[in-house]
Assembly symmetry: C2
């Protein structure tokens, strides 16, 4: 049983890792199995197809990320301090990735969104749900910041929350393009402008 | 001669069109030739490889876009009015695409950036040059807006110009994900927040 669950997890980890770096279409099941050290026969014990694997790898990725989001956004600090903690944590992930692997691989969710488009409708639908969940989480923290008097009430809305994530995803795109996490150094000050707030 | 140049242009057009919708890795030369109604033998008369074709398709795409950028950003209007004209024009392209083809395909440059990463270094290098050129163009118009007293001087800098493009690319990502160009309706008001300006 232990061995079985390990093979599935290894496949999910390898998929997340390889897909974040290389995208969806250029990867095959055989290569993923080789990286995970799992036989191809075992693969079909866990997943019906590459699409199914991708959907589950996206879920596993967001499961891990959601934990980091909740950790950063919860607690007794003012809402803007918690938002800064979240965004700086995300910049830190890209810096760490560059230090340990040599490349800024960006965000698996953003990468797959732009690559898959209308292909793979199940994966696309799940990506949309995840980004909606992220927008709602940021929307909540903006609403709390408005309650605390730190941002104008009219900015505590979904479209501003989406702008915050759009700006983040766009900067991650540039960090990936330039393979330079320093692009993310202006993430927080420019997010403050988007939400019309002063440094907390 | 006329026929020869037409075949090359058809290949570039088909590549831009297919790649914007489907990405790089899932496309093969045979499919591109079929869409362009060009024989595979002729393909290698114009291009040495799929990479070479992609590089030239990216150049052709930006050549067309640069014309639209220059047209929007030039003229006697205040700088912020010209910036709004550029951004609203880009939102309009996605709306038109949805109306005519049924899908928001996003930005070929952004799509390829996130898909290609460290693969295809020549294409990646060219994408970086193009985004740097875009950043410089936005930086110039911000500098003019500061001269006109419409934005604070300290915001007329490259990092703010990059934030404007990052926010645009991020919203285009969401418009593509949701296949809904209405996501771009907040592009201009939120760009004004990023550059700390009032509606001109």
């Amino acid at each position: 049983m232990g061995r079985t669950s390990t093979a599935r997890e290894r496949l999910l980890d390898a998929t997340g890792e390889l897909m974040q770096h290389r995208g969806y279409s250029s990867l095959g099941v055989a290569e993923i199995c080789a990286a995970a050290e799992v036989k191809k026969g075992s693969f079909y014990h866990f997943f019906t197809s590459k699409q199914d694997l991708t959907l589950q790898a996206v879920n596993a990725y967001w499961e891990g990320q959601r934990g980091a989001w909740t950790l950063a956004l919860d607690g007794p600090d003012p809402a803007l301090v918690r938002l800064r903690r979240l965004l700086e944590g995300m910049a830190q992930v890209q810096r760490h990735r560059k230090e340990t692997c040599g490349t800024v691989d960006g965000c698996l969710l953003g990468n797959l969104t732009l690559e898959l488009s209308t292909q793979e409708p199940d994966v696309r639908a799940r990506l949309e749900e995840i980004f909606d969940e992220q927008t709602a989480l940021i929307g909540d923290v903006l609403s709390q910041a408005a309650d605390e008097g730190d941002i104008p009430r009219e900015h505590a809305e979904q479209s501003v929350a989406r702008a915050v994530i759009a700006h983040l995803e766009g900067l991650v795109l540039f960090a990936k393009l330039k393979n330079d996490p320093a692009v993310l150094d202006t993430l927080w000050p420019h997010t403050l402008l988007l939400v019309s707030a002063e440094e907390p």
